[in-house]
Every structure is written in C-alpha cells, then in structure tokens.
Amino acid sequence: MTAALLLDLALALSAVAVALWTVAAKRAFEAIVGFIAFGLLLSLAWVRLGTVDVALTEAAVGAGAGGVLLLGASARLGTRALAEAKDVPILPLRVATGLLCALLSGALGWAILSLPTPAPSLAPLAAANLAATELGNPVSGVLLAWRAMDTLLEAVALVLAVIGVWSVAGDDAWGGIPGPAQPPRRDPALRLAARILPPIGVVIGVHIVWTGADAPGGAFQGGTVLAAMWVLAWMAGLVRPPAVSSRKMRTWVVTGPLVFIAIGLLGCFLADGFLAYPAAFTKPLILVVEAALTFSIAVALVLLLIGPPEAAS
C-alpha cells in the first residue's frame, strides 16, 4: 500500500513539475517536448486510476498525435512567434494572474476532496446491462451502446474538424493534395522504418480495435495507430493522399458516421428508437459500427495531422 502511494505521489509530482516546465520553458520547442512527456506521465496516472482504455487514448492521441502535430507546427513556424514583446502582460499583472490561478486550483482541489461519499456511480447499472451487449469491456459498452449519441457526435466532430482544417487552405491550393508539398526525404533511417513498420502497425492497430470489445482498446485507440502508420509512410515520401477534391477521399471521411447513423435509424424501426440495437443483433451491429468508425477515424486523423492543401495539384 505504501509503495503504491509513493508511486502515485511521484507520478503526480512529476506531472505537475513537467506541466510547470511546459508553461515556463523559454522556447516553444522545449515546451512541446515537455507537453509530450506530460502526456506520457498522465497515461501512467490513468493506469493507476484503473482505466487502461483512457491510458491508451491519452498515449496515442494526446501525447502521440498531439505531439507530432505541435512539433510539426513549431518547426514550420520557425523562430517567428507571431507575437510581440508588448503582448506579454507586465510583471504585476502576471503575479496577480498567478495568485488568482493558485486560488482557483486550491478551491478546485478542496471541492474535489470534499465530494460526497459514497460516490454516485453508474457502474452497477453498466454491469447489469453489459451482458445484453455481449461485450466484455464496459467502456466500449458505454461508448457504443448506452451513450452512443456522444460517440456519434464525436465522430461527426472529427468530420467537422477536417472541414474546418481544409477551409483554411489558400484559394490557389484549394482542391489540391492535402498537406505541405513533400520535399524528397533523404533520411535512410526514416525511409527504412516507413517500409517495415506500417504492416506490423496495421496488425497491432486492428488488434487494439478488435480486442476493445472485451478488453481495453477500441476504435479511437486502434484508429490512431493506423493513422500513425500512414503518416509515417507519408513522412518518408512513400505514399500520397488523394486530392481534397476527390470524391473517394470525401466518402472515406464520412463512412463511419454515416454507417453509425444508418444503423441508428434502423433502431427506430426494429428496436426502441434511434441508436437502439435490435436485441438479437446487438453484437454484430456494434462490430460493424466499430469497424466503420475505425476506418473513418483513421482517415480523419491523418487529414487533421497533415493539414490543409498548400500547393495546387
């Protein structure tokens, strides 16, 4: 027990220290490295909080994809900060802000520690209904059955984000290949990794999705691994996405949400309502939704990571 407590304290203190470093670092690059380390520490904290599903998401999406995105942005911004010295608040203002933020933290911490006991919980309800979904992982049950509306909206949010990112493309580049024009990479190590790793990553990513029905994992975590493998091959110049204007690409992005909505509408006729599953087909329908979602999540994440088109096709 004591060893566990020590581990928790060490993890918590490291996370706070790295967060402070991220805010205080001189250069953006250092801050981003701090942020990636922060994400990895946070995923260890998630494991300690008993939720491996969230730990996988944090490591893959927060630290992994988020880190790649921010490092890429910082490299492309170079030394230009898009801000001037006069934009930084004066010292007394910073001190006052710091004090108020500390006050907020203190109040929040006190509120969290004085939450009512026993804590309200939907765990018994989830346990009682898990058998009906034939899933073994309660988190997947929540995501795909009882709170399917949230998950559907999230999938739609990814589509909207892709539209948003594309919409900042310049007029001259609109309709072209997404992402910056790829300079030929002459890095042998990256090229080799991009030739060998993606197939293995595909197997691991699909496994994470498939095992998500009964164990930690699922469409978001597995989809991120699949997206990462494609981005790796893209960085090495081995693959190219279709143009933004191609119908194929647009169909890929919306396949997941459309399948989800179609199966949800089916529930209006065959079960209790929108997004309800007919009892006899619950598990197969969930698997179909999950497969379609994985594919579209992976495509959307790739497009979000590589950004809007920047050169005419």
């Binding site: 890095d187 190590a189 990794a193 790793l197």
Partner: protein
Amino acid sequence: MSLLADAFTVVAVLAGLFFLAAGTLGLLRFPDPLSRLHALTKADGLGLGLIVLGLMPQAGSLLGALKLLLIWALAMFAGGTVGQMIARVARRDAS
C-alpha cells in the same frame, strides 16, 4: 523450479536497471550530443532487453513471453531509427 525462475527474474531485472542507470549516467556525462545518443540507444536498449528477459519466465505462457520479445524488438528498431535521425540533425548543427 519456480524459486529458480524467480531468482533469475530478480537478477536479470536488476542487471537491466543497472544498464538503464548507466545509460542515464552516460547521457549526463558524455561530452557531445552524438556520444549521448550512444548511451540512449545502446545502454537503454540492453537495459530494456534484460528486463524483458527477466520477465519472460513470469509471463505464464510461451505467447506471453514472445509478446515481451516482440516489444523489445520494436523498441530496439525504433531506438536505432530515431537515434540515427537525431544524430543526423545533431551532426549538421555541430558543423
């Protein structure tokens, strides 16, 4: 037999921890970025390998042990790849 396996685990994991510590020491003490990369790719790779070796008897099944070995192989490959990429940039910055 299980006592023997446990003893093996303890020895191998401790040896692994020693090499991780030595790698960190090298990271702090070596004079230039390229030498520090040696500490990361080689000593840490060996440290992880020894920990994996030590945990293999505890995996409970052949597949579990092979899974640990796969993790080590992927970590070594990633280490070799990223080490070279950083080395390339570090050399360019130095010259």
